[in-house]
Assembly symmetry: C2
Homo-oligomer: 457 residues x 2
């Protein structure tokens, strides 16, 4: 069979673009088929203010942490500058009763019993997490037990105070975009280990939210795509993959087909499961992809003439027990104008506000910002949000949320190639799974897997 | 737009065929598009012995219970006879240590403390189940709590003895084809209520396994299909549904398209989620279908010259704590020849044996039958099994297994039509969800929904 490329990559998110870039660098011919009319997947730059299209902010993944070395290396290779997420000033905690508490650093001055309760839970989770093998979480010493309970059940058993449970629940929403009862304890432990522990995942300075990319993380995707040039074909939603003995045929909904020796499906597993495979995938792989639902998140941005909260000594960072926004950040771009506030609906709140009209959603976000930062927040000059669950080419975010039984029952099928088919996406990463960095690592891994397989023939 | 039919039904399982039949009876024109070259979905007749093709046994859903009135009515309409599942003789319980215990009726003569423990658990589950509204399980009095824990967590908290937990786990596998930690307590309660309670679900006489259809339940599907005639098109795997203001266009992988005023997607939700929808489905519906994984079951049949176990005073029914088969039945057809034993790999055992070769699987099944029924079981004259998880047009069985958070977070999107799109499949049924009867009811419901909608225009 005459092939169109050595390797076809399905999906031009960070995983697919990285794989294609690496294979190209190794001298392989590559074709990237992307469903949308844009690259980037869950990474997406937008200009919230139509009147100022040059003022770009991310409506998808946006932060780089200090240990996210593959993402940082890529940014450097592409000549992109990093800058620190704004943290100067006091943070806010919105309590259950709506009361506001100002604090500095990562720890609010709440009841020391509650603080100790949170601290011991974090310590225990981190200790358990370190014993989960990243390549094979199902081989953890207590994998059977840990994959038989939800993180919510663990929190109820191991956290004594209500406020501590509530604050940990806010952290769970911020990390996984779901409620604590939606994910397996084992999945939570894998993910914590993968990202370097609890503090690393939830932290700004020193943590996953430490740095930003000047011009937006979207430039990571468009930068890679520019290097790949016409190897990236947009508007080709792949729907069928037919694997033969020597080659694979990939067909898009447009009716076009391409042939290659190998294929990397660089989609979240739940979307990979929506393609038609011939021959049918092994039962374990097919059932795995039925069990990798995406978290639920709506990312919301409000633009103001300036970051007025800074003059009040506020950092713009807030967490809320009362909700509906779980976490809020100052998302102002370098230079300080315009001022941008960022809020997330996550988990149950995302589901609830997904059913509202865009106007109702805007009103709720503006009301939340106003409660936190005062009346000047009431009239943003622009507002933008994105409900990732309603985007059929992402399916949700930030990442897949594995329920009890999935890692132990099906984990072996998450990364294992099936003949000439290889899998990439941040969900398959062992380091920083769920993050941009993990997506890049997963793309590198899939490319290396193919290079090794082809070398050994 | 010129339409090909008033209604297109996607999927010729029991739900789709029933909907089509009902709409046809109401004077509507219907087209049923089926992916496979056969009708029936999870209902399938097979002749396990190639040398005796007339000796038909079901390799899919096979039983009708006394309260499964819609399935019984259909059987009667099609002129099919029912007969009782064979229960004469002693049942066997294979204990954890492999020891065999003979008993009659539904209750083995085990430790009365264990029996009491099982009894109280059943009673409590049934009582909780009756308070779960079948139309809206998320409105149960304690839905939030019940959907935040797995059935496994509930069993560990509420069942004191290990043997009772093990026997209840065998029952869970038999009912849901999964392990207790894979499903939400709320889903278990909904399902119990839907099927009339614990005893109704697990029972033979008086329960869901009471009766069989002479000639096999496959005749329910082929009988309906015969009435529909050339309205059923086989070998048309639908992959895209495009809804316009006045009509819907349905496209198959063959490239053919059809137009209708309304569409019933009569597939398990996880498979419905694999289609391309234009416009994209609402976020809640899209994320729901990411959260409706099918159970894991391999159904295994061994054929012997005669049901030799009956002469030993054995019913052929067995349950095993030791495994790997969880439940065994005498599946001999009327007349007593040939003798057929039926065994199920369910949940974790199904996953394990899905990875084995067919020969290894056969050996394990024959070894299990030999432990239960003696050396004469060692050499069946034919053996047949089907791993439903590996069948891309079913995705697994018996039904969808909802993890914590799904009913409360997304349940409202399970049955609600989306514009001109309606949903059917046993998963959407309120009565006997997960069973043939539920599939029929769901098809009737979807048809009625359309008739009402069209009447009110």
């Amino acid at each position: 069979m005459v092939t169109d490329a050595d390797v076809i990559v399905v999906g031009a998110g960070m995983a697919g673009l990285t794989a294609a870039d690496r294979l190209t660098a190794a001298g392989r011919s590559v074709l990237v088929l992307e469903a949308r009319e844009r690259v980037g997947g869950r990474v997406l730059n937008e200009a919230p203010d139509a009147a100022a299209p040059e003022q770009v902010v991310e409506i998808g993944g946006q932060w780089l942490g200090p240990t996210q070395t593959r993402a940082r290396t890529l940014a450097a290779r592409l000549g992109l500058q990093l800058y620190a997420t704004h943290t100067d000033g006091a943070n806010l905690l919105e309590r259950r009763d709506g009361g506001l508490l100002r604090y500095r650093g990562t720890i609010p001055r709440i009841n020391p019993v509650v603080l100790a309760d949170i601290g011991q839970a974090q310590t225990r989770l981190d200790r358990l997490a370190r014993r989960v093998p990243l390549q094979a979480p199902w081989r953890a010493p207590h994998a059977g037990h840990q994959d038989a309970v939800t993180l919510g059940t663990w929190l109820r058993r191991n956290v004594a105070t209500r406020t501590a449970r509530e604050l940990l629940t806010v952290a769970v929403r911020a990390v996984w975009a779901c409620e604590p009862h939606e994910l397996s304890l084992l999945h939570a432990l894998f993910y914590l280990h993968s990202g370097g522990g609890f503090a690393s995942l939830i932290g700004t300075s020193g943590g996953a939210q430490q740095d930003r990319v000047v011009g937006g993380t979207g430039l990571l995707a468009t930068g890679l795509a520019a290097r790949l040039g016409d190897r990236v074909l947009l508007g080709r939603p792949v729907h069928a993959i037919r694997a033969g003995d020597d080659a694979v045929t990939v067909t898009a909904r447009t009716g076009d087909s391409w042939h290659a020796r190998r294929v990397i499906v660089a989609l979240p597993p739940t979307l990979a499961g929506q393609l038609d495979y011939h021959p049918a995938l092994p039962a374990a792989r097919a059932q795995l992809t039925q069990r990798t639902p995406m978290g639920a998140v709506i990312k919301c941005l409000a633009v103001y003439d300036e970051p007025f909260w800074r003059r009040d000594g506020l950092s713009g960072q807030a967490v809320s027990i009362a909700g509906p926004l779980s976490a809020v950040f100052d998302n102002t771009v370098p230079g300080g104008s315009p001022g941008v506030l960022l809020g997330f609906f996550e988990g149950a709140a995302a589901r609830r506000f997904s059913l509202r009209t865009p106007g109702e959603r805007r009103d709720a976000v503006v009301a939340a910002f106003t409660r936190l930062f005062g009346a000047r927040a009431r009239h943003p000059r622009a507002y933008l949000d994105k409900d990732w669950s309603g985007d059929p080419f992402s399916g949700g975010g930030y990442s897949a949320v594995l329920a009890p039984g999935t890692w132990t029952g099906y984990g072996h099928a998450l990364r294992a190639p099936v003949g000439r088919l290889h899998w990439a996406s941040t969900e398959t990463a062992t380091i920083w799974s769920g993050y941009i960095d993990g997506a890049i690592r997963s793309g590198e891994h899939a490319a290396d897997e193919i290079l090794r397989a082809e070398d050994s023939r």
